[in-house]
């Protein structure tokens, strides 16, 4: 069988100035065609203004067993959230 086109992950930034967001994947022979395919596949309904593609094999991902060590420590740092602090109403909007 012939060689399958590589898999690419697609990230799109929408109209509203948000960050690029992962929307899905597709196959393409190279980066240029991956961007074009992403335009045809993932922006059929006006979804995006900017497209990033990255070949799936180049994505480094955290492993599930590290989930605890990676994310739980931040759970105890409640002072990072604005709701941690009580500001009296008299002080006005903050």
């Amino acid at each position: 069988m012939s060689k399958e086109w590589p898999l690419w992950e697609v990230f799109i930034r929408g109209q509203h100035g948000m960050s690029h967001r992962h929307v899905g994947s597709l196959h393409a022979p190279d980066a240029e065609m991956a961007i074009k395919n992403a335009r045809d596949v993932y922006t059929r309904r006006n979804e995006g203004v900017s497209i990033w593609v990255v070949e799936a094999r180049h994505i480094a991902a955290s492993s599930p067993s590290e989930k605890g060590p990676l994310y739980e420590p931040s759970e105890s740092k409640v002072y990072r959230h604005p709701t941690f602090f009580d500001i009296p109403d008299e002080a006005g909007h903050m």
């Binding site: 012939s2 399958e4 929307v23 899905g24 196959h27 596949v41 059929r44 599930p64």
Partner: protein, 329 residues
Amino acid sequence: MYAQMVKSTGQGVKPREEMSEEERHFQDRVDAGEKIEPKDWMPEGYRKTLIRQIAQHAHSEVVGQLPEGNWITRAPTLERKAILLAKVQDEAGHGLYLYCAAETLGVSRDDLTEALLSGKMKYSSIFNYPTLNWADIGAVGWLVDGAAIMNQVPLQRTSFGPYSRAMIRICKEESFHQRQGYDIMMKMAQGTPEQKRMAQEAINRFWYPSLMMFGPSDKDSVHSAQSMAWKIKINTNDELRQKFVDQTVPQAEYLGLTVPDPDLKWNEETGHYDFSEPDWAEFYEVLKGNGPCNTERLEARRKAWEDGAWVRDGLMAHAEKRAARTAAQ
């Protein structure tokens, strides 16, 4: 609902006391409504069942392009042509999203395609029925997409993350499909005598095949229990079929069309319609390859795949040459 008769482990639900510690932890996560992601530990049976189910769903989207594509070049107005083309294009997109979801489980799209073309993997029985007049395009949108949506909406909550995300995207995009079908049916049902006849013939031919889309009756459905425990199947076949009939019959009445079931009647006691079962012998024959269009559908897909080989290879070869040239500079 494009996944029928997906083979599960072949056994019932594994009792908790027979589970390993990993399996218990996995089941607890599923029960708690957590999403399982590709790199997470999962039972082999879960992985295999999911590959079969997602691939069957993907194959159905892709083969499902054909009966509707059959009318793109004969659509009666420019607007109808554009709507139908956009809709069939969406089906290709949905197939693509689903193949990608299956690929996160360690199979390639090419392998899945080969499995479809060799007959090893199945697609929904519904796409082996022909579209014979323009109202069939309405009926496919109204009945077939209607049945599909009934199954796909709950699947947005399925336990496997990539599958769930694909379903969310698909459901969002599909929202116009059923409506465009009903819109065609309304025009036909209110149209000339010939158009009304087309509409009635379409429902006559698509009613029972649509009921079959939900798969065999629960009592004959051997693979459901484990899949439901794993939340890769959310409702039983009979639940969804009943819901479909209850929703569709009033819509047919509004169109002034007759549902081709003499025993169909409202049951005050149950609060549901009583209806006739489809011919399950026919269903199994269609799955075996003996439906009206099985041969044509697979031939069309095989031809597309084989005729396209030089294109896929050519563009890949060019990409490799270009990468080599860039590297040499």
